[in-house]
Symmetry: C2
Subunit: 339 residues, 2 copies
DNA sequence: CTGTTAGCGCCTTCAT
DNA sequence: ATGAAGGCGCTAACAG
C-alpha cells in the first residue's frame, strides 16, 4: 500500500494540488475554510509530505553535512551534541561523515561540499591541506570550519580557540606552582590528518618555558597517537629519565588519563610526586579531579551550526571568526612543587 | 554556476541520456566505446549524479534511520560505531534520531518508520509501548530492534542479549566470592523510556540471591537516573546502612563508576572493603580495572544493520532473533569476602 | 484566493 | 546497444 500523495489529498478535499501545497507550507493566502478542509483530508489519509520530492523541487537538500574525524572520541561527541541539539529545532537534517582514514578524509573534502549533497558543511578539526583548498573555495555551498584553520581560507567562517594561548596557560600553571621540569605529551605534531591543536599548544608550551627561562628539553616531549595507552607509554618513557618531569601537560584529557595510568604504574602519587594537567574538560575530567584547560566543546558545535544557518539565510556577507574562550580549571591533579 | 546534470553529460558525449544513466549504474548493456566516451564526458564536466533525484526516481530513500536514546552515552556510541562502519561499505546513508525526551521518542516511533523517511529502521534500547505497536506493525519498512523487545513484536527481527542471565552472572560472581550482602544499583525499573535491561538484570539478581538462599533486602536496591552522580548518591545511601553491602552490582559501567566514587568518598578500599561489578565493558572499564559483564556493543549495531540490509534485499522472509553472548570479565574491583 | 502547468534530475520501460 | 518518453511527488509561477 503506497503512501498518500499530495494528489490524493487534493482529490479527497476537492481542491487543486497547489492549494494543498500552500496549506502544507503555511502560506497565508488560503481561506480558513479550505485550509480546514485540506487539513481534514490530510488527517484522514494520514498524509505526510515526501521529503525527497520536496528537496528535488526546491533544489535544496535540507541537509547539513558534518565532517568529523573519529566521531567516537568524547570531545567530538560533545561537539556533535551541540550540532544535533541546535539543528533539531531547524528544518535541516544532519549527516555525519565519520573520517577514520586519510583516504576517507580526502574523499570527504572533495565530494561532500556540493549542492547535491548538502546545503552547508561543517568541518571539524581537520585543517585542510593545500591540495584541498581549490575544492573548498570552489564549493558552491557555505562551509564553516570548527577547530580548524588554514591561511588561504580567510573567506570561510570559523569557530576556533587560541590553542597557543591554551598551551601557555597550562604550562604557566605548572610553572606558577614551582615546577621546572615540565613534560608535554601530545599527538604527533606532524600527523597525516593535519590536526593542529597539539602543535599550537606545543608553541604555547615552548613560549611559557622560554619566558620563565626554562630550557626546553626534547626528551620531555612525547608524541604519539591520540590514545590513552599511547600516552601511557610515552609518559612511562619520560618517567624513566633520571631527572624526570615533576609536572606533565597532556594535550587532551584522554591522554591525561594515560599519564595518570603511567603514574599509577610507577607508584607515583598524584599530585604530590607528579602534577598532571589536561586539555578539554570532558566529562570524566571532573570524575578524576583532573586539572585541565576547559574549552567549550558543546558550544563550538552550536556556534558552528548557527554560523552556517545564518549564511544559508543570507544573513552573513563576509566571513566571521568566532573565538571561544579557554579557562583554567584547577582540580586535584596539580600541586606546588617544593623539591 | 549550476552543477552538471545527466543531460549535459549526454549532450557532451553525443548520446541519449538513457545511456548515461546506464553507464552510471554499471549496466552491462553498453558498448565499451560509448561507455568510455560517456565516462570522459563525466570527467570533463565533473559530473556527480544527484542523489535526491535518484531517490525520487527509485522510490527509495537509500537511507537507514537509527532511533537511539541519549546517543552520547558511551554504550550507544559504541553501538552506533558498529552501525556506521557497516553501513559505510553500503550504498545507504545513516540518519540518527537522537531521543532525549518522551515526546521525541513517541514522535520518532510514529514518524520515522515510513517509506518516505527511510528504507529501514533500527530501534535501539527503546522497547516499544503498547500504543506504539500498531505503528510499528503497520509500518511499510523493515524494522530491527536492538536491545529492545516486546511480546507483540515477534514479527520483527531483533538483536538481544539475555539480560536476566547477565544479572544472574554478575550476582553469582559476588556470591561465589563469598559475599552475602549484595547491593544492586540500577536505573529506575519503571522508567518513562521503557528501558528494560535494568529490570531484567534485576530479575537475574533476585534469582541468584534466591538460589543461594540469600534473602532480598529492598534497602540494598537503589534505583535512579542513569547518571554517574546519581549512582554515587544511591551507593552512599546504601553504604550508610549499619550492615552495608560488601559487594555492589551496578547495571552499567557508567553507574559502576559512580559506585567507585562513593566508595572513595567513604574511604573504602576496593576491592578489599567493597567489591564492585559493572555491566557492558565500555572502554573505561579496562582503565579502571573494573570487573564487569561484557556485552558486544559494537557487534550489536553491526548485526542490527546486517539483519536490516538482508531484509531489504529480500533475503529474509521470517524474523530472526540474534542473541549475542555475555561474558564475565574479572578484573580488580571484585575480591573474596572473608568477613 | 485557487486551479493549472511546467519543471527539479534521474530511472525505466518501450521501441528501434 | 541505444534514443525517446513518461513518471517519481512536490513547488512555484502564472492565469484566472
Amino acid at each position: 500500500m503506497k503512501p498518500a500523495t499530495i494528489r490524493d489529498v487534493a482529490k479527497q478535499a476537492g481542491v487543486g494540488l497547489g492549494t494543498v501545497s500552500r496549506v502544507i507550507n503555511n502560506s497565508p493566502q488560503v481561506s480558513d475554510v479550505t485550509r480546514k478542509r485540506v487539513q481534514e483530508a490530510i488527517e484522514a489519509l494520514n498524509y505526510v509530505p515526501n521529503p525527497t520530492a520536496r528537496r528535488l523541487s526546491l533544489g535544496k537538500t535540507l541537509t547539513i553535512a558534518a565532517i568529523v574525524p573519529f566521531f567516537t572520541r568524547p570531545s567530538f561527541i560533545e561537539r556533535l551534541r551541540g550540532v544535533e541539539l541546535t539543528l533539531a529545532e531547524s528544518a535541516y537534517a544532519l549527516n555525519i561523515y565519520n573520517v577514520e582514514t586519510i583516504q576517507r578524509r580526502d574523499q570527504c573534502m572533495r565530494e561532500v561540499p556540493r549542492k547535491e549533497i548538502a546545503d552547508g558543511v561543517l568541518i571539524f578539526s581537520l585543517s585542510p591541506r593545500d591540495a584541498d583548498i581549490p575544492y573548498l573555495l570552489g564549493a558552491d555551498v557555505p562551509i564553516v570550519l570548527v577547530d580548524a584553520n588554514h591561511p588561504s581560507l580567510a573567506s570561510l567562517s570559523r569557530v576556533v580557540v587560541d590553542d597557543v594561548e591554551g598551551g601557555r596557560i597550562a604550562t604557566q600553571h605548572l610553572i606558577d606552582l614551582g615546577h621546572r621540569r615540565i613534560g608535554y605529551v601530545s599527538d604527533k605534531l606532524d600527523n597525516p590528518f593535519n590536526f593542529q591543536s597539539s602543535g599550537n599548544r606545543y608553541q604555547g608550551y615552548r613560549m611559557a618555558l622560554d619566558s620563565a627561562g626554562i630550557p626546553f628539553r626534547p626528551e620531555y616531549h612525547g608524541q604519539g597517537e591520540h590514545e590513552r595507552y599511547k600516552a601511557c607509554q610515552l609518559t612511562a618513557r619520560m618517567l624513566n629519565i633520571p631527572d624526570r618531569p615533576t609536572g606533565i601537560f597532556a594535550s587532551s584529557d584522554t591522554q591525561a588519563m594515560g599519564v595518570l595510568e603511567a603514574a599509577r604504574n610507577f607508584g607515583l602519587t598524584v599530585p604530590d610526586e607528579l602534577s598532571v594537567i589536561g586539555f578539554d574538560d570532558i566529562e570524566v575530567a571532573e570524575y578524576f579531579g583532573l586539572t585541565t584547560v576547559r574549552q567549550l566543546l558543546f558550544e563550538s558545535g552550536q556556534h558552528g551550526v548557527e554560523l552556517l544557518l545564518k549564511s544559508l539565510e543570507g544573513k552573513i556577507d563576509h566571513p566571521l571568526c568566532d573565538t571561544l574562550p579557554l579557562e583554567l580549571v584547577v582540580r586535584k591533579t596539580t600541586a606546588a612543587w617544593t623539591g
